[in-house]
Structure formats: structure tokens, C-alpha cells
Symmetry: none
Amino acid sequence: MDKKIESTEDKIIRAAIEIFSQKGYNGTTTKEIAVKAKIAEGTIFRYFPKKQDLLHGILVKAIEIMAPKIIGKGVAEIFDDNSDKSDREILIAFMKNRLEIVQQNFTLIKVVLNEAQYHPDIQELFFQKVLPPIKGIIDHFFMEGIKKGRFRQYHPSILTAMMVGTVGMSVLLQHNRHFVEGLSKEEIMEQMADVLLTGISKN
Amino acid sequence: MDKKIESTEDKIIRAAIEIFSQKGYNGTTTKEIAVKAKIAEGTIFRYFPKKQDLLHGILVKAIEIMAPKIIGKGVAEIFDDNSDKSDREILIAFMKNRLEIVQQNFTLIKVVLNEAQYHPDIQELFFQKVLPPIKGIIDHFFMEGIKKGRFRQYHPSILTAMMVGTVGMSVLLQHNRHFVEGLSKEEIMEQMADVLLTGISKN
Amino acid sequence: MDKKIESTEDKIIRAAIEIFSQKGYNGTTTKEIAVKAKIAEGTIFRYFPKKQDLLHGILVKAIEIMAPKIIGKGVAEIFDDNSDKSDREILIAFMKNRLEIVQQNFTLIKVVLNEAQYHPDIQELFFQKVLPPIKGIIDHFFMEGIKKGRFRQYHPSILTAMMVGTVGMSVLLQHNRHFVEGLSKEEIMEQMADVLLTGISKN
Amino acid sequence: MDKKIESTEDKIIRAAIEIFSQKGYNGTTTKEIAVKAKIAEGTIFRYFPKKQDLLHGILVKAIEIMAPKIIGKGVAEIFDDNSDKSDREILIAFMKNRLEIVQQNFTLIKVVLNEAQYHPDIQELFFQKVLPPIKGIIDHFFMEGIKKGRFRQYHPSILTAMMVGTVGMSVLLQHNRHFVEGLSKEEIMEQMADVLLTGISKN
DNA sequence: AATGAATGAGGGTTCATTCAT
DNA sequence: CATGAATGAACCCTCATTCAT
């Protein structure tokens, strides 16, 4: 009953995300998208007059889907629900939650990040609409810690960058079983959070 | 006088790397490469019978160029030349050196990493020829620190992953001036190394 | 009003046969075919993904068109309708009928025979699907004559080969007015049939 | 010692004939010819400025090689040396001799006949220089027979055509073992000659 | 004379886009 | 609205031909 009510536009977007993530934008034909979406090739162009427009549609979709998860519930939930937890537990919960979100929307994120490299308009949208709120929240998190004297005096954006880099790496590690052997996804994330936290914390 | 003695094959490879890094493999035409290399389009196919073969040529080039830098001089230089330095100074030197190498070969690395996503054979080569030696060296560095009791008991590969992620992020930061404002490349790298080191070190 | 209802596929096949017969497969461009068929070049590839496939399409067409003419009506008609005629009249009718069929489909046959030389798959199809039935019928005709004591004891396949060679030559003679001067198509065919018949007949 | 003294031009011609006969003129690259002739590709163009010129070279070669065999020795030899033989023996010897010549120069003849279809200048040369003498000789042979009252009153050119067609078919039969089973090359030729002779002879 | 690297026009083929149904 | 046949520009690639060595 989920598929039945999916609009034609959504079917197209979904198919496009999936194939773009596998073959890249330029490596994907509109025919392939039509087949995966189970519609006629011509139908795509009723919704997205140019193939390019599909990328914009995807980015809009990405913002729609991820914005609430990242901005809305995410932060409040973690910090409020865990107000009685230690810093370590909070950071780990925070990073695990991020990892979760990224992994759930992996193909979507992959497409956006990959194509942003080559499409200046996508890039611009990404740097103006997508990145700032995410960065803002994490920056804020670290700034609070610094202000409250629990974290050392680093530039918050650097800590944000490191956390993003760390979470990013841990995502990539999930896709490369040989890199770290013998540890579960959770354990990896925890050890990484530990290193970060120890490096950041005042004592 | 530099260009005069460059072989036709090298001219092609160089042009291909440059344009692939800007537009991606599938977004680049052999015509564009020919124009940039200032040769006839047909000449490309004397050296690389299929466009695909250009990617292999690039990967081979990448291995040729970077292998000595990463494996050879890099490690010995830093650790031997700095044997009287503190851990902090060594790690910073190490990471800065890495950053330098990555930045000097940024377009080349960008192409390889991007296309490895879509070309299984490139991916395989990368995971079998390129990644292992790099990972081995860094793993070794951290294992030594752990063995000598200076670093805590983390899984070395996790520390490697974090360092790579950190260096990777710092490269990206160079290309996004808005992310961290007010700090130089050096300062960013140093703060990051500091966080890592503090997180890792025993005391 | 004839052309209007011709399918795009048939238009392509027809144009291809015509140009292939004039310039050979390798001497013909898909562009030329498209122009002659009055369609866009790209359209050809909706029906025949590879240029090669055009040859198969033509061979299939050839079998479709000629099989009924050769196997079906041809034999029955001649032998049944002429049961009261002399051997000479039957053979002449038979050969004339064959000549007619070959001449009507001259370009088609020319293409198949020419390209069979260079395309093993076409060759195989020809020797397995096209030749056997034709040879079978003619062999049968001569075998009957031999069995009934009207023809001498030659190997039937040799007589078939001679008849085919003779009809083939007479086709070529139509295209070379200088070879036999002063005789009509009918007279040539009749004299040839006469020679054959006299050579074959018992008395 | 045969190859050593072969001129570069002859090496090219020989290689060209061989490959043209296998792949056709348009299906053959000058590179392939160069490789088979064991020379550099550029060398071909010193002798034959255009690829087309190779065909003329081949035709000239064909005339050079075959003219003496067909016109000169051939006829005299057979008729003089066999003056005490029966008509049947003479005709068989004649046809066998022709068959021999054709088979020895099969690739050469194949190329000329095939390409004459598509190259008007080759065609013209063939119909003006090659065909007439051959036709003339055979016509003469049959005319003599008719004049001397041994052969019936057919148009000589028709008999020539049939003989050529018959010899031609027998050549093709050599390349198709399945057509006539159980008979040797000699037996086939003899039976064919028998049919022709019986058909032609007066009693 | 011979070489073979370089050329570039042109070939087969792909694919985003249009449009009549 | 949806379809899919048709389009043709542009792509990758081939190959006859040129020319510096």
C-alpha cells in the first residue's frame, strides 16, 4: 500500500536517486530511470523538462527529507532525553544518531555530494541551504561545551569538521569490511567518539 | 621548455586528469581532452584504445607518482629527521606532510576516488594496490606509539581512519573558505592534530 | 499510397537492401540508408541496434519472401499444371520460373550471397536454412526423372549444381548485354535448357 | 629464397590480395595489409598513393599472371596435344585445365570479381581486357565444333556461358563439401562435362 | 626508400528531448 | 496525463593519408 499511492513524480525521483548513486548522473540514461520507475521515458519530461532538473528535484527532496531529522527532532531529542547522561554518552549518542541518519539516506547523500562537485548550482544550493544548518547545530553543540568549560578552547568549526570527517569515515568503513577488522559498527563509532572526546575534554 | 619534452602520452594523461577532475569521466569528451592536450583527437586512441583505458593510465600514473612520496621518503624523513622532536611535533609534521602531498596531487586523487565509485576495476586496483601501503604505514605509526606506551589501546586502524578523515576534511576545508574562518591552513592542521593527539596520548 | 502503410522497419530494410547491393555492406553508411529510407539515422538503431543486425534482418526478410515462392507454389504449380507437357516444356518452365524469381529478388539475393562470404553467421544461416530446401526440391526433380527412367544416371546434385549455375549465368547475362548478342532472355533460357535436357535425357 | 627477392611492391600486392579475398576491399585496413606484408603502413602509400590504387595494382597483376595461362599455352596445348583424343576427352581436359587455373588463382579471381561489382573502373577493365579474350577462346572452341558439324547449332556464347557457369559451380562445390557427397573433384568435373557434351554433340 | 607517429574527416552508436497519438 | 516512436546533435572510435625523421 506504500507504493500504490506514490506519485509519478516520486517514483521518478526515487528511481533517479537509486541509479544516479550507482552510475553517477552522467552515467545514467533517462531510459534507465524510466524502466526502474516503471513509467514511459517521455513521462519523465512532463515532470522534469530537462534531465538537469532531476538533480534539483533530488536536492529538494533531500532537503525535505533530511532537514527535519537533522535540525528538528535530532538535537533536542538527544540533549534533552540525555540530560542526565555523561558527556561521553551524549557525544556517542549524538554521533551514532548522525551516523544512523547518514546511513539511512546514504544513496541520497552520495548523489548530492558527488554531483555537487560538477554542478555549480547544486553546489551553491548545498553550501547555502544544506550545509549551514547542519554546521550550525554541531558548531552550537561544541560552543556550548566550550562555554560551559567542559571542552577546551578550540575553534568550534574545527571540531565540527573533525566530527563530520569522523562520522564520514565511519560510514565509508561500513562499505569496506577490510579496513577495520574485528569491530562492529557500534564499537568503531564508540572508539572514535572516545578519541574525539578525550582530545576535546578538559580533563 | 617544460612542455617541449613532455611525451604525447603524458600530455594526454595530464589533460585528462585536469578535465576529469572538473567534469567527471562521463562528463568529459575525448575532444575536450585533445584540445587541452593540443593534439588531434585520434591521437588519444593510439595510446589509449578505449576512453576507459585513460582511467587506467591515470591510475597507473597516480601510483607511479605518489607511491614513492608516500611510502619512500615520507615516513623515513619525518620520523628519522624528527627523532628529537616531541610526539606532537612529529604528528603535526606527519599530517602536514600528508596534507601537502594530497594537495599537490589533489586533482589526480579526486579523479581516482570519484571514478573508483563507478568503475569496479579501478576500485579493485585502488583497494589492492593503493590503499594497503598507505594504510600500512599509518597503522604502523600508531601501533608503534601504542606498543611504546605513548598511545592508548585503540584499534590502530581506527586511528588511521580518523587521521585520514581529518586530513581529508582539512583538504576540503581549503576548498571552502567559509567553513572555518579566521584560521590559516597551518593553524587548522595544528589544532586538528592537537585534538587527535590529546585524544590518543596516554597523558 | 503504397509507401504510407509501409512500416518503419520495412522502409529501413528496403533501403538497406538497395544500397548494400550497390555498394556492399562495408561500403554503405547508416546515414545513406537513413536518407534513402527517409528517416533519421538514429531511428535505424531502434530497430537494428547494430549495423550488423541489418544483415540478419535482410536475411530473415529474404527467407520470408522467397521461401513460399520457391518451396510452396513453385513446384506444385509447374509440375501439376504441366503434367500433360513434354519434359522439355516442363524443364523450361521450371527454369524460367526460377529465373523470374531470382530476377525479381535480384538485389536481395545479391546482398545475401555477397555478404555471406564475409559474415560467417550469415553464411551458416544460408547453408542451413536457405540452400537445403532449394537444393532439396531440385534434387528431387532430377531424382524423379532418373527413377522414372527418363534421365540418365547422374548424381542428382551435380545436375542441380549445373542447373543453378546455368540459371545463375543467365541472370548475369541479363546484366551484360554484350555477352550474348541477338537473343532474348527467353531464347537464351530455352537454348540453355535444351542443352541441359539433351545432355540429361535418355534418348 | 623465394621471399628474399620479392619486391616491396609485390609483397604489398600479395598481402592485399590475400586479405581482400578474406574480408573484402572495404573490410580491409591498410594497417592489416602492412602487417601481413611485414612492412610499415606508410610504405604502402609510396607505391599506391590511394588505397584504391591497390585494386588497380591487383587487377594488373591478375592480367599479367593469368593472360598467358589462359590465352597462350592453354588452348594450343590442349588441342594440339590431344588431337588424337575423342571430343569427350578434349572437353574434359579443357574444363579440368580451366578449373585448375581458376583454383590456383582463386583468391585473386575472387577479389577481382567481387570488387568489380562495386568499382566501375575495375568493372570496365574486366569487361574490356579480361573477359573478351577468355570468352573469345571458348567461343572459338565451340564455333569450331559447330562448324565441323560435331556440335549442334547453338549460339556459341550460350555454350560458353554454360561452360563458364559449370566450371564456376564446380569451383564453388570444392568449397562446399556437403553439396555433392561421395564424388571427387575429378568425378564431378567429368560428369558435368559429360552432360554438357551429350547436350551439345550431334549424336 | 622506409618508417610510424600524428592527423582529422567520417563512421557507427547513444541518448536527451519532442510530439503525435 | 501518459506513451513510445522518432529525432539529430554529439559522442567514441576508426582508418586512410601525411610527413618529419
